[in-house]
Amino acid sequence: MIDGILLGIKTALNFKNLIMVFVGCSAGTIIGMLPGLGPMTAIALMIPITYGLDPSAGLILMAGVYYGAVFGGSTSSILINAPGVASTVATSFDGYPMAKQGKAGKALAIAAYSSFAGGTISAIFLLIAAPSLSVISLSFRSPDYFALMILGLTAVAAFSSKGQFLKAIAMTLVGLMLATIGQDSLSDLSRFTFNNIRLSDGISFILVAMATFAMCEALIMIFKKDEKTSKSDQISLQELGSMKLDKEERRQMIKTWPKNSVIGFLIGVLPGAGATIASFLAYGMERNLAKDEDKEKFGKGSVRGLAAPESANNAACSGSFVPLLTLGIPGSGTTAIMLGALLAFGIQPGPNLYNTNPDIFWSVIISMYIGNIVLLILNLPLIPYIARLLAVPRNVLVPMIIFFSVIGVYLISFNTFDIFLMIFIAAIAMILRLYDFPMPPLILAFVLGGMMETNLRRSLLISDGSFDFLWSRPITVVILAITIGIVGMQVYNYFKKIKSN
């Protein structure tokens, strides 16, 4: 392990990789700050750039973008009450009231320090947890992996469904359907290609990611006429106030870090949960633990109310890397996009990554720590200037996002069919988003589809076509029991809602 850490430090501190951390954090902060654009869009937009890099540098860049986008989202939550991403909604509860009181600088500083603390504490946890889980996951067999993927898809569907589980499951199935288009990996037989040679290699991951996130998000901005960056809101962008915290504010802020970072990390590890749930849970817990007079301050600019979700959501980002790096199974839409990019590099994350590509495994973990330092250095002095980007009008932003999405796909295939297919998928995704059909289950299923089929094939061949494999190993049974529990909870919630209606 020590050798691995040293190798990781050496790789992460390589000049090129340091530049990648810096570029990733900066780009992530800028993109994440723009209302409506979250980490998934930010990472999807950066994928074409990573194809020209080596796998370590590519993954380091994407990890930086992830962190940066989460932090960028906090900035728009605090300054204009328009969270760029769901995980920073809780940040706006106290961040925006603070900004309205003329303490925007302080709020941004608390967010930056708390993000740094959450990210750093969880990076240390990741350093310890990832290798241990890698060793355990070596004992996993195909049926366990198949069951784990079912669990991951179910959990992501459950948590992203906003109470409409069947919609999320339908999106998961759409993702799986899209994943089966093209040649079957084992028999080379064409499936659902409609004799179109351009579909014989399947639909590219980047096309689906760009269409369902970046391009769809841009179209939604126009379609829904989002007016959150109106002129009245932009007054606060000019007068951020001092960023210095007094002794009492520092004490309150530091007190929230350890427990919320741990909560954030643990929730981030769980498939499907992620930064949004972590931030809400941290906020709720911090409020419940506060004394009565402190409780009154929540929602009106409380330091603790701002520091808690900020440290938790950044900690959850690191936590979400645990299943990706150790099991090769992403637990969220964001890490699913990263997995897709890794597979495009020819790298299969999972327990063997720790042995076969230790440089990638460790450099990503170490770079997270470096990324946190870069974010702090970058954001504290530069935030008053970066924040002006919030004033970029939608009529300039939308065509630019569409342009980068189209070019990102076109530069890989030089094929106009891909552009048309992307426009078609984006238009359908826009309509589905209008009716609250979530996109993360689709992208996760699309990425996992091929792996699911491979593991199901192996399991069925080993058990000679019988489904006995689902209950022949204790690990498989436990994983499936958790899955059934999640489904049961969703069914219970549905009937409860029907009854109350």
Partner: protein, 155 residues
């Protein structure tokens, strides 16, 4: 009246049925026909699940109805933008990257309400020229462009 959610699930039901039909028509190697798993097995599972889920949604009462304010939706500009994107796709190879992208950005800015001449003109053709320069000189990516070739700027 049938809700929009139910209509979407009805479409999904039809798509799943067609998908399942398609999966039964996947050509399978003769030696794979009776194998425990072949190229059609997984799609068959997905198709069946799709039919089951959509049927379930259609049969069960809805927990919450969609709440979309149609009056607040900007159909006109969204459709114009989609058509513009399709035209962009058509012309990117025939007219070349420079002209098609420049015009796409210029028209899209204008359609969405941008009227500042500096923004309209700087972020269209000069922006594309800088972007192309980075692609060609910096990242060594060759971009076929009949227009720039015709005026002798690229080989």
């Amino acid at each position: 009246m049938i809700s929009e959610n139910k209509i979407i699930f009805l479409i999904f039901f039809v798509i799943s049925s067609l998908y399942l039909y398609g999966s039964y028509n996947i050509p399978i190697h003769a030696f794979d026909l009776n194998a425990p798993f072949n190229a059609a097995t997984f799609p068959k599972f997905i198709g069946m699940c799709g039919i089951a889920i959509s049927a379930l949604f259609l049969v069960l009462p809805e927990a919450s109805k969609p709440n979309v304010n149609y009056k607040a939706l900007d159909f006109k500009n969204t459709i114009i933008l989609l058509v513009l994107m399709i035209f962009y796709g058509f012309f990117i190879q025939t007219a070349g990257f420079f002209l098609s992208t420049g015009f796409f950005l210029l028209i899209a800015f204008y359609v969405l309400g941008e009227r500042r001449k500096k923004v309209l003109f700087f972020f269209s053709f000069p922006f594309v020229a800088i972007f192309m320069l980075i692609l060609i000189k910096g990242l060594d990516i060759y971009l076929r462009d009949p227009f720039l070739k015709m005026i002798g700027l690229i080989s």
